[in-house]
Symmetry: C2
Subunit: 350 residues, 2 copies
Amino acid sequence: MKASSGSGRVTLTDVARRAGVSHATASRALNGSARNVRSEYRDRVLAAAAELGYVANTAAQAVARGRGEHLALLVNGINDDYFSPIASAVLRAAEADDRMVTMISSRNSPQQATRVVSSLRAQRPRAVILAGGRSVTTGVWDRRLSDELGAYQDEGGRVVAISEEGLPFDTVAVGNRAAGFDLASELADLGYREFTVLAGPPDARTAYDRVQGFRAALAERGLAVPESRVIHCDFDRDGGYAAAGEYLRRRNPAQLVFAISDTVAVGAIARFREAALDLPGDVAVAGIDDVPALRDVSPALTTVRLPWSEVGRAALDLAVEQTGTEPRVIRMRGHVVLRESTPPAGPAPD
Amino acid sequence: MKASSGSGRVTLTDVARRAGVSHATASRALNGSARNVRSEYRDRVLAAAAELGYVANTAAQAVARGRGEHLALLVNGINDDYFSPIASAVLRAAEADDRMVTMISSRNSPQQATRVVSSLRAQRPRAVILAGGRSVTTGVWDRRLSDELGAYQDEGGRVVAISEEGLPFDTVAVGNRAAGFDLASELADLGYREFTVLAGPPDARTAYDRVQGFRAALAERGLAVPESRVIHCDFDRDGGYAAAGEYLRRRNPAQLVFAISDTVAVGAIARFREAALDLPGDVAVAGIDDVPALRDVSPALTTVRLPWSEVGRAALDLAVEQTGTEPRVIRMRGHVVLRESTPPAGPAPD
DNA sequence: TTGTAGGCGTTATCAC
DNA sequence: GTGATAACGCCTACAA
């Protein structure tokens, strides 16, 4: 039944020989596109392959076809605590499609990124997906990286960017600006008027867009966030913790603290709790992302759920679909989830 | 400088031609092992490669050499909320080594797993790492999967298993039993005497080992967990939530609820909070894993930190090191982290 | 040290 | 439909 007996690998030639046909026929029966093989032969080949435990060599296929079938996923760092929801969404979509994905991290560095894309290029994947997202600073997209990706495209590869708009590639845009906008709208509707923003790094596009959207919605209502109430910080839990400390230090309390992400919000909450603040009594808190691992924080966090699964799905479709056309951009929008951390507020602050 | 000009891919032959040497020399200068190439030629080749933007085709290399340089990582599912700490540890180690990793999920199913290993085999990676871990049921390791992995080994590939002991491969064992043992020891020292165990699935090896260790430590002290206080559940947050509900229903309160993982513990805590229990006043809670995203739950969770980074490192070393010897096994042990959720307890329960 | 030639496992082009 | 035969891009004896 299973002949893992011999120590060597089984090749197509072996299968062909055993089936009494040529390599060509065996190839066609097993992996070929045109299904022009007499069923008798086809069966013999399939049987032989099964008996020998034959497994096609994708590397050889890749060199013969000029390109592999797998996808490459470029993330910009692998944290211990959370895995980029974007990356895991892409992985899940790929799983559903039975696609292999090779992951590689750019280590948050443009220099490394070009090196890394170069070695991605070496793999000749069908497409590379840029799962940039949260911590990507605008600076990462320097000239060389673009060149490298351009070269890859020239070679016939597809590039799909997630959440990084403005790149000359197919892109799936998550509505970062919209997320901020919708959140601010709902909060204003709840009666909030005075906000402090934990704004993330000044050069992080994602963070910037979220803050922009937030402010735009407020502006429509004649509200605003003065610069004195914008606190920049790292795009993670500790950044939120530190920023919350700064907030306390400034002694300029707001009704609500808007953190550009749930992780930042959680750090802030931890800090507030240390300061014995009552949440949401003393201050309300809201984030963006709706990270599942944080469902059980208390108070339950108001946030904006981003449609990561759909984003992953869309990215995969873009990566696989054969379109020689212009860069396409798919736009997605999250939705606000109101929870305990932002109860309805009185019409005016103290 | 950079000639991404032409739309075709640049091959070794192109580089050789431009440098005025043979394929062979170019190959040796760029990727070869023996450094037997006159420095003048070498420089010319390197220059030509740079000018042309040459990137070696790993697929072709893999065909020629018989095996690729990348690693394959088999996980058993990709969750939205957290990414297996094992997988991310392996990824980080690979990143440090500049190794590419192709990820694939077995989808928690033995049938799928064999299929999946088969397609892994097709990629001819240098090694495949089994990042099984938490949700692997013993049943997953059925005959066919082993056969498939065996065949892969026969072909010259290396297999490294993480946290799944007893397999005929190199393995990095995390001390699951030890984790349970150490935790129970510390808790007993704190004065706890009566425990309920949220034990995870009956057929999950990891969970089983943790419970075993827990009981063993208690036994040494003349303590025990009666079967009536063992509650099986899914190995995730919702499992913990449900199990905690069952605990409440049984009206058989214990001093401490031991959940076989932090995620389970968090679900339980959520349920307890809904029931308006005071934690840790009414009941203490402890878990295992020390998942970073859960650092800020309240009360802060007593747990066992497992050395995932070291595990990942070790797995990578095993995967890369050339040892034709017997299956090696590296054993690692975590350490207990006592926090608010398990304050010192009085010597006797009520 | 360098180049020539053959081979790695598949696919693709053509005659048959 | 099927089977030689030539790519595919690279590596590696082997010979020079």
